[in-house]
């Protein structure tokens, strides 16, 4: 008993000391901006992508010999936790890149610099308005700017479509008709979704293509509309009636294992011919089938921003601006082409011009992006996204009906909006 008491007392005393030891944030003292500086840029993605951004950093070094920027890779799986650890200890990178809303999340907690004070307006004019909006915080702060873009397309097997005498579908109706024809022609796997499968991103396309949206322009949840219902019914029917698999198979694997049409991200386009040599000459791609309100497609990408604990805020922000220049984009694109990886610059005027993709592929992505929309930037969306996805899944798996699921999703969004 005495031992238990002693252990409890020790823990309590330590907890109280922990409470007393918690200190507030302090402003990071800025280093002499003219002295030689080495900046650290934590880039979320793969090593090949890091190497492409390093080319821009090297170019910046040539122009500013005093400044060296080292780009390091953070893998998607643990980047967020590592960035949080850096923000908590207020040490680590000067520049970070990651998911579009990450900089907003870190910025809202004081870990990022508002780039409006460092000339982000010049970048706004060059960026795609739809993507820019999703990088801006609800209060208007710009804690991160788009670093690149990603979008999706409908990839298809030309041989299987020819066999079923089907043209690549351009509308929802054509898509379901194509699935039926492919099935009739003996194609066992007519259609699947890679990016966005069973997730809100998959529904996003249908929602906007039906003329709906997650939020109204003043950030009120707007899932109680006929458009949202029509979209969810059409999307869920792809699984319920037309046999789209609930299990996610990576796009190029799906094509390789006999799936006729796959919705997948732009990043698979570069690798299919190399990773799946059997598919060479047997696949094509087109924009997503359009709905009653048009072909709106999801636009993702990464945001890049400057940490508030950097000792070189001005230099780091200058480098972020530099990444939008023609020469920086050319350096990144060249390296991406050499490494055979996907890269869509954040400037719409550069999507086709000098693209890493073939001109035909670049045109498909450009068309998707021109009419695209990005993730909602409304307060509480990040907290709600997983719950919204669960509600959508419950419809697909027959556990709930469309109306109830959308009402539940809207309720969560309302609650998290604060």
């Amino acid at each position: 008993m005495r031992r238990t008491m002693a252990a409890c007392t020790t823990l309590l005393v330590a907890a109280l000391s922990a409470a007393c030891a918690t200190s507030g944030q302090t402003q990071t003292k800025q280093a002499d901006q003219n002295a030689p500086a080495t900046l650290s840029f934590w880039s979320t993605g793969g090593d090949d992508e890091t190497a492409t951004f390093q080319k821009a950093a090297d170019l910046y070094h040539q122009k500013h010999p005093n400044v060296t920027i080292k780009v390091q890779t953070l893998s998607w799986s643990d980047a967020y936790a590592k960035l949080l650890a850096a923000a908590t200890s207020r040490s680590g990178p000067d520049i970070i890149s990651g998911g579009m809303t990450w900089t907003i999340q870190f910025g809202a907690r004081g870990a990022m610099v508002d780039l409006r004070k460092h000339g982000s307006d010049a970048l706004k004019a060059q960026a795609l308005p739809a993507q820019w909006e999703s990088a801006v915080s609800p209060d208007g702060s710009v804690y991160g700017v788009p670093l690149d873009m990603s979008t999706m397309a409908l990839y298809y097997r030309t041989d299987l479509l020819e066999k079923a005498k089907v043209e690549p579908p351009k509308t929802w109706e054509e898509l379901t008709a194509a699935i039926d024809k492919l099935k009739a022609a003996g194609v066992k796997k007519p259609y699947s979704q890679d990016w966005g499968n069973l997730d809100w991103i998959g529904y996003f396309n249908y929602l906007y293509q039906a003329g709906g949206s997650f939020y109204t322009p003043d950030c009120k949840p707007s899932l109680d509309t006929p458009q949202a219902e029509q979209a969810l019914t059409a999307w869920a029917d792809l699984y319920r009636k037309h046999g789209a698999p609930t299990a996610t198979v990576e796009g190029s694997d799906a094509l390789d294992t006999g799936t006729a049409m796959v919705v997948a991200g732009n990043w698979i386009a570069k690798g299919i011919d190399i990773n799946k040599p059997k598919l060479k000459g047997k696949w094509g791609m087109t924009t997503m089938p359009a709905g009653p309100a048009g072909p709106t497609t999801f636009i993702g990408g990464r945001a890049v921003g400057v940490t508030s604990f950097s000792k070189y805020v001005k230099t780091a922000a200058d480098f972020v601006t530099f990444m939008y220049t023609d020469e920086a984009i050319a350096a990144i694109t060249d390296e991406a082409r050499k490494r055979n990886i996907s890269y869509i610059p954040p400037r719409p005027d550069k999507i086709v011009n000098g693209s890493v993709f073939t001109p035909e592929q670049a045109k498909v992505f450009e068309a998707s992006i021109r009419t695209g929309k990005a993730a909602p930037g409304c307060p509480g969306w990040d907290e709600s996204a997983s719950d919204v996805a669960k509600q959508l899944q419950s419809v697909i798996l027959g556990k709930s009906d469309v109306k109830t699921a959308l009402a539940e999703a809207a309720k969560v969004m309302q609650r998290n909006a604060g």
Partner: protein, 303 residues
């Protein structure tokens, strides 16, 4: 009652021992007690990892009581713990009884079953992910095809999530339990069995009345450590079932467990105070269950 030894003479007598314990104590205090105390304090705050923590009393715990996802995670974890501990313990005992000999064949079999315990759990989970991959990319579905079966969405069928997690846990852990049981079996004096045989006891009676009761300390250990490990399951869910940044528990949260939920809240939603509260609730659950288990083991021994 003996009078207490004066501090000075105690120091003279044990001073060197205390000094030698100091490095361990410093590390223990710095890397265990201090973080533990911090998490206890943080569980009463709204700490977001970056801004100073604001004290909110029991709010986090109240919120937990009303949190549907936490309740769901708790229910899933309960099912998983029961499944993996019961099946794991029974299979460990079965394997130990089957392979407790000293011959080469038994030694090789023991090594084979023990191998998953010495392999990195991350590597094992990546292997399972590959096995359960959808379509004919995955081994499980390829085997299904050989026998004329259809594709199964192993990781996207809510009803399969817990059985798959239990299977992965049992497969990975039964070798470890087997080794403990083999050691336990070796410690049972053979005379008991001889006496039982002379008295005409059947093999089942010998197992029921000699082996099982004498293996009780081993069983208690296997169950308690299994219980603690099962409550803390993380890699299996995080690696095998996570299908996106927003989907830590798999489809419809079918594989959501307490620790992955804690990680999700703390490290992707900046709710470190709330995550600390989850950690302390988990600690209390494990503490109480382990205590009950130990007491039950002791009470049964006294019977």
């Amino acid at each position: 009652m003996a009078s207490p030894i004066p501090l000075r003479s105690r120091l003279r007598r044990y001073g060197t021992s205390y000094a030698m314990l100091l490095p361990f104590l410093a590390l223990f205090a710095g890397f265990l007690i201090w973080p533990l105390a911090n998490s206890l304090y943080l569980s009463f705050t709204t700490f977001d990892g970056i801004n100073p923590a604001a004290f909110v009393g029991l709010d986090n715990f109240r919120q937990l009581a009303e949190d549907d996802r936490f309740r769901h995670a708790l229910g899933n974890t309960g099912l998983y713990v029961v499944g993996s501990v019961v099946i794991g313990t029974l299979l460990s005992l079965g394997l130990a009884l089957a392979f407790n000999g000293t011959g080469w064949a038994h030694r090789i079999m023991r090594t084979v079953f023990f191998l998953p315990s010495v392999t990195s759990s991350i590597a094992l989970m990546l292997m399972w992910k590959w096995v359960l991959f959808p379509s004919d990319v995955g081994l499980a579905n390829t085997i299904m095809h050989w026998f004329g079966g259809k594709d199964v969405a192993w990781l996207a069928t809510p009803g399969l999530a817990i059985p798959i997690l239990v299977m992965m846990s049992v497969w990975g852990g039964m070798g470890y339990g087997m080794v403990l049981y083999v050691a336990g079996l070796g410690a049972i004096p053979q005379e008991y069995y001889e006496a039982a045989r002379i008295d005409g006891a059947s093999t089942w009676a010998q197992f029921r009345h000699i082996t099982l009761p004498l293996l009780r300390p081993v069983t208690t250990y296997v169950v308690v450590t299994g219980l603690i490990g099962a409550f803390q399951v993380f890699e299996a869910v995080y690696i095998v079932f996570q299908t996106g940044a927003n989907n830590v528990g798999g489809v419809l949260d079918s594989g959501l467990m307490i620790v992955p939920y804690l990680y999700d809240q703390g490290f992707t939603h900046f709710k470190l105070g709330y995550a600390s509260a989850i950690a302390w609730v988990l600690f209390l659950i494990i503490f109480v269950l382990s205590l009950v288990n130990l007491r039950a083991g002791r009470a049964m021994k006294e019977l």
